[in-house]
């Protein structure tokens, strides 16, 4: 199979989605094996595509395949696929994580209602996500973008009997939708300027300077708005923690590894355009930095395992945007991939914990679980190290690269800020791990009933654990070469005019990175090791206000709620009132009533008395005659 047929990667899960959603219910075990088969096929096909891609003459040249979709006059719309290293990377990430999550879910979701439906939507998601990353035009990107959003909506709201799940799903969809307004505007603005939706043509046009600076900036920022929404960047970050209401495998797949990185992907894809627009990259950097910092703070005070991970995800996405802001898509994609593996691992690990403890995800009730769940504990430990950025785990390499790129692009101040975020990452990761797996159990009852999960769940954990440990090494030229790439990741993914760039270890930055990780880990260990209640509440005691603010996540939710209630809904009430009472009752019914009223008044002219009638005749004649004499006389 050639890479031109890569659309099969998306088509196969889509087909299985139809199969499962129509016929899944009566199938034995809800057809969960079809889920694995479906994604498994895509996973296998991915290697064919990869092989073919690497085999193509001229090596990393993009592969294009498109067909005409519709014609309106001279507006020709073509839909197709565009395969380049970024796409390949995303293929790898998506198919791998999706496969793991599918397998994991067989164990995790066992016995849930609507079991088949869960797998059906997973297939739908995989199909849309794969389509998103291979689309050659922004329209198809937008289509897939919305479809993954809907899958996310459906899966967050999977436990729809719970109000909170429903509300979270709604919030996720609407929040991203607000960003999508920008995305669609941006896409159409670019179309207006270039007359095409094709990404490559747009990039060429932008680089050729065919689009005015201000116009381009607005268009790019509009698109970036969509990316921010999808990737939960401040101030759109509020939906992602709430999205943890969904089943944990979903959090792993959609809200950590794949869908939320769509924003990063799209920005990376359009980075040449961003680069042309003055100031766009600075905005990207600032948004990324702000997000990384703020969510770092927010994660500090969370007690829900998944919420901590959610904030961490947002923060890591911020890291990726910082990388993009530095004009370096290869690093961003690198971090995207490593993050996908270790964060999926962490989520699945936490899923394993939650499953084992019968849906308990409060750190305050857990603790000491390593003994009970050795595999989960170990893999979680690996994942935590990767997230904290401990050498030589995957997260270290990618994060280190970001610092290097950032320094090159914007200088020291940015590095310092991001460093602070990195410290906090290490801190809350350690805190999470210690409070969940170490120390003494805080709730004996929960502890008693805990047991290690079956292989169907631990297997994916182990696989991802390995990836989390080693996937960082692809940064090295030799490693990349060994598995068939032209070289390390930065030699594989690059912007055309930047050219490939061979990785060199920068020991200064590496030392800094190690230091930051150490500081964070040490601080957390100091506070939480050994159930020391005195130390763990040190912040709360020192400044209750600050602690409260952290716990309330800087009041973003409250602010938004107020804005929606007072602003949008208030406006809606005003409009509805206006429509009822002004337009309808006064305007429409009013004119009807006025007509009726006129009739009611006029009818009293009809007094029933002959002299009055005669008077009317006489006056009529007189009036006509006088008017006639005046007009004509």
């Amino acid at each position: 199979m050639g890479a031109e047929q890569a659309w099969l990667l998306a088509a196969i899960p889509a087909g299985f989605f139809l199969l499962l959603s129509f016929f899944g219910r009566p199938m034995p075990r809800g057809g969960d094996y079809f889920g694995v088969i479906s994604i498994g096929t895509s996973f296998v096909l991915f290697f064919f595509v990869l092989a073919d891609f690497l085999d193509t003459p001229g090596k990393v040249g993009p592969i294009v395949n498109s067909i005409e979709w519709s014609n309106i006059g001279d507006f020709h719309l073509r839909m197709g696929i565009y395969i380049d290293p970024i796409t390949i990377t995303m293929f790898g990430v998506v198919t791998t994580v999706a496969l793991m999550v599918n397998i994991f879910s067989i164990g995790y979701m066992k016995g849930e209602p609507r079991y088949y439906w869960f797998f059906a939507v997973l297939q739908m998601f995989a199909a849309s996500m794969l389509m998103l990353v291979m689309a050659d035009n922004l329209l198809l990107v937008y289509i897939s973008w919305e479809l993954v959003g809907v899958c996310s909506f459906l899966l967050i709201g999977f436990y729809w009997e719970k109000r909170s799940a429903t509300e979270a799903a709604k919030k996720a969809f609407i929040t991203t939708r607000v960003g999508d307004v920008g995305l669609l505007i941006g896409i159409i603005l670019l179309f207006k300027a270039t007359g095409t939706f094709n990404i490559q043509e747009i990039i060429h046009a932008a680089e050729a300077g065919e689009i005015g600076q201000a116009y381009l900036f607005i268009a790019v920022m509009a698109i970036f708005l969509g990316c921010m929404g999808k990737s939960a960047q401040v101030p759109f970050h509020v939906w992602l923690p709430d999205a943890m209401e969904g089943p944990t495998p979903v959090s792993a797949l959609i809200h950590a590894a794949t869908m939320v990185v769509a924003g990063v992907y799209l920005t990376a894809r359009l980075l040449p355009v961003f680069a042309v627009a003055d100031g766009a990259l600075l905005v990207v950097t600032i948004v990324g930095l702000t997000t990384a910092l703020l969510t770092g703070f927010m994660a500090l005070a969370q007690t829900d395992i998944k919420k901590v991970l959610a904030y961490s995800t947002v923060g890591q996405l911020g890291f990726m945007f910082v990388a993009l802001g530095a004009g370096n898509p290869s690093v961003a994609m690198f971090h995207l991939a490593t993050h996908a593996f270790f964060k999926a691992l962490l989520f699945l690990g936490s899923g394993s914990v939650i499953h084992a403890t019968h849906h308990n995800q409060e750190m305050d009730k857990l603790g000491g679980l390593w003994k009970k769940m050795p595999i989960t504990g170990t893999t979680f430990f690996v994942g935590s190290l990767a997230l904290a950025g401990v050498i030589p785990f995957a997260g270290f390499w990618s994060k280190d690269e970001i610092f290097v790129a950032l320094n090159e692009a914007w200088g020291g101040w940015a590095v310092l800020l991001l460093g602070l975020a990195a410290v906090m990452t290490a801190f809350y990761t350690t805190r999470l791990f210690i409070r969940t797996f170490m120390g003494k159990p805080k709730d004996e009852h929960v502890y008693e009933h805990t047991h290690e999960s079956g292989f169907v769940m631990t297997g994916p954990l182990i696989f991802l654990g390995i990836l989390a440990a080693v996937s960082g090494f692809v940064v090295f030229h030799g490693v990349g070469k060994a598995i068939g790439f032209p070289g390390g990741i930065t030699e594989f993914i690059f912007l055309e005019h930047h050219g490939p760039h061979r990785y060199e270890m920068d020991w200064g930055f590496a030392a800094g990175s190690i230091g930051m990780a150490t500081v964070g880990i040490w601080a957390a260990a100091w506070m939480y090791w050994g159930n020391s209640t005195r130390r763990s509440t040190v912040l709360a005691e020192w400044s209750p206000g600050l602690y409260d603010m952290l716990q309330k996540k800087f009041y973003f939710d409250e602010l938004y709620q107020a804005a929606i209630d007072r602003g949008v809904l208030g406006f809606s009430y005003v409009v509805a009132w206006f429509d009822r009472y002004v337009v309808n009752d006064t305007g429409v019914d009013g004119s009807a009533q006025a007509t009726g009223f006129a009739g009611g008044v006029l009818k009293y002219l009809q007094t029933g008395r002959v002299p009055n009638y005669a008077m009317a005749i006489a006056l009529g004649v007189a009036g006509l005659a006088v008017a006639g004499l005046v007009v004509r006389g």
């Binding site: 009739g599 002959v610 009529g620 004509r632």
Partner: protein, 496 residues
């Protein structure tokens, strides 16, 4: 030349009238509904006789009365109306009066009056035929002697009728004074021969004439007798009033205005337009507030008169071709309007014979107890409102189109707006029939077969005209043409 043959159809009608009155005189026990059927038979004979005059060369009787397609049109119309109203009256009158022969006889005579109003080409003849029709109507309206409302209606009608015919006469006298002639041809010749400049006597004369004919067709502000007379009159007479009397009024107006005074159209066309606007607005606005069906239809028909008057104004504004356009529009609408009105009253009479109520609430739940009548009434109301499938749509559209000139455009717009207002009160009636449960007896009842058959025939007619207006329109055009061609109708070469 005195060609008495041109009156043969009217001989039949009038002769039948005498015969019917005589029949009851000599056979007082004769079935009262039988009289109605005899009248209908006479009307058929009248109609058939009239058919022979279609397309014949126009003839004139001493320059007083013209027999041409225009006359024939109204001849057939009169026969048709008398036929339907006579059948409609059969049970109604049988149940309410001891003697009915005068009723039917007068109806035939009134029909003759209408024919002569259409045929008259001279003022005295026009006046006499107008009074011939009016007198029969005065009596018919008050025919239910012991009925308070009937006699009150009759009194009002005759007092105001006499008053307005005095106005009419005064106007005629002024025109006679200016032109020295009472024939339409003479008037037209004299008016066109005048030196330039406007004669106040002409203006005042025109306005008085307008008041006279306006009264006849119940144009505002000369309309006030109509609602009272309609409400007080026996139900079939209301039908007679709203169809035959209106059509007759327009017949007179058309011939008089297009043949005699069109040459001075600038003096009266604006006034007709104003009257049209006033009439339709008054009629429709007040109709909204009515509770009694007959009264409501009175106002509704006043509204219709408003629409029709626009065509008269359009004749004043147009060239001969424009006149033909407007007149054929008016004539086809008269067909549609007459058919719909007769349909409505046929159904209403049937309902009234059963329920004895003529207010809107009396129709409550009719769709349950008598779905056929409800359907028929709905058809007729939709036709009034000008909704498609029914005669009203096509005829009103053609009429307005014919009446559209640059000057009358605004009244046409107002008319369309008014016909929209009218839909509201038609819906009020439909609402009573379909949306509410019947009060009291809910069992289904049967419609008298004569009325039922009549209703079916009229529905078919209304549908036919509505869906395929071609034939009716051709007839109307043929009837309109004589008015605008030099010849008998005008008695002279047309003055540009």
């Amino acid at each position: 030349m005195r060609d008495y043959t041109i009156f043969i159809p009217e001989y039949i009608a009038a002769g039948s009238a005498v015969a019917i009155i005589g029949l009851e005189l000599f056979m007082p026990k004769f079935r009262k509904d039988g009289l109605a059927y005899l009248t209908a038979l006479a009307a058929v004979a009248w109609f058939v006789a009239g058919l022979f005059f279609i397309g014949k060369d126009p003839k004139s009787f001493q320059g007083l009365i013209a027999s041409d397609d225009f006359t024939t049109y109204f001849r057939l119309l009169a026969a048709g109306i008398v036929f339907v109203v006579a059948l409609m009256s059969a049970h109604y009158m049988r149940d309410r009066t001891k003697t009915a022969s005068e009723y039917y006889g007068l109806m035939l005579v009134g029909g003759c009056g209408m024919v002569y109003m259409a045929a008259a080409t001279e003022l005295i003849t026009a006046y006499i035929s107008l009074e011939l029709l009016s007198f029969t109507l005065y009596i018919l309206v008050g025919y239910l002697k012991r009925d308070n409302l009937s006699s009150e209606a009759s009194l009002k009608y005759i007092l105001l009728g006499a008053f307005s015919s005095a106005m009419f006469l005064y106007g005629m006298s002024l025109i006679y004074g200016v032109t020295g002639s009472t024939t339409y041809a003479g008037i037209a010749e004299a008016l066109s021969g005048r030196e330039s400049g406007t004669d106040p006597a002409v203006i005042v004369g025109f306005m008085l004439i307008l008041a006279g004919v306006g009264f006849k067709v119940s144009a505002a502000p000369f309309h006030m007798w109509a609602p009272d007379a309609y409400e007080g009159a026996p139900m079939p007479v209301t039908a007679f009033l709203s169809t035959l009397s209106k059509a007759a009024g327009f017949a007179l107006i058309l011939r008089l205005f297009s043949a005699a005074i069109v040459v001075d159209a600038a003096e009266w066309r604006w006034a007709v337009m104003v009257l049209a606007a006033l009439t339709m607005t008054m009629g429709n606005l007040i109709a909204i507030q009515q509770k009694n069906l007959k009264r409501l239809i009175a106002y509704s028909s006043i509204g219709q008169v408003g629409y029709m008057l626009i065509t008269i104004a359009a004749i004043g504004y147009g060239d001969p071709q424009g006149g033909i356009n407007a007149t054929s529009g008016l004539l086809i609408h008269i067909i549609g309007y007459v058919a719909s009105t007769l349909l409505f009253f046929t159904a209403l009479t049937a309902a009234y014979n059963k329920t004895g109520r003529d207010d809107i609430d009396g129709l409550k739940g009719l769709a349950e107890t008598q779905p056929f009548l409800a359907l028929v009434i709905t058809c007729s109301l939709f036709s009034f409102a000008g909704l498609p499938f029914f005669a009203g749509f096509a005829t009103k559209l053609f009429m307005f189109q014919g009446a559209t000139t640059s000057e009358t455009m605004w009244v046409v717009g107002l008319a369309v707006l008014n016909s929209f207002i009218s839909l509201y009160y038609y819906l009020m009636i439909i609402r009573q029939m379909y949306l509410y449960e019947p009060v009291g007896e809910t069992a289904r009842w049967k419609v008298n077969p004569v009325l039922g058959g009549l209703a079916v025939a009229l529905v078919l007619a209304v549908l036919f005209i509505g869906m395929y207006p071609g034939p009716a329109f051709t007839v109307s055009e043929e009837a309109a043409k004589p008015l605008f061609e030099p010849g008998v109708a005008t008695g002279m070469a047309r003055v540009p």
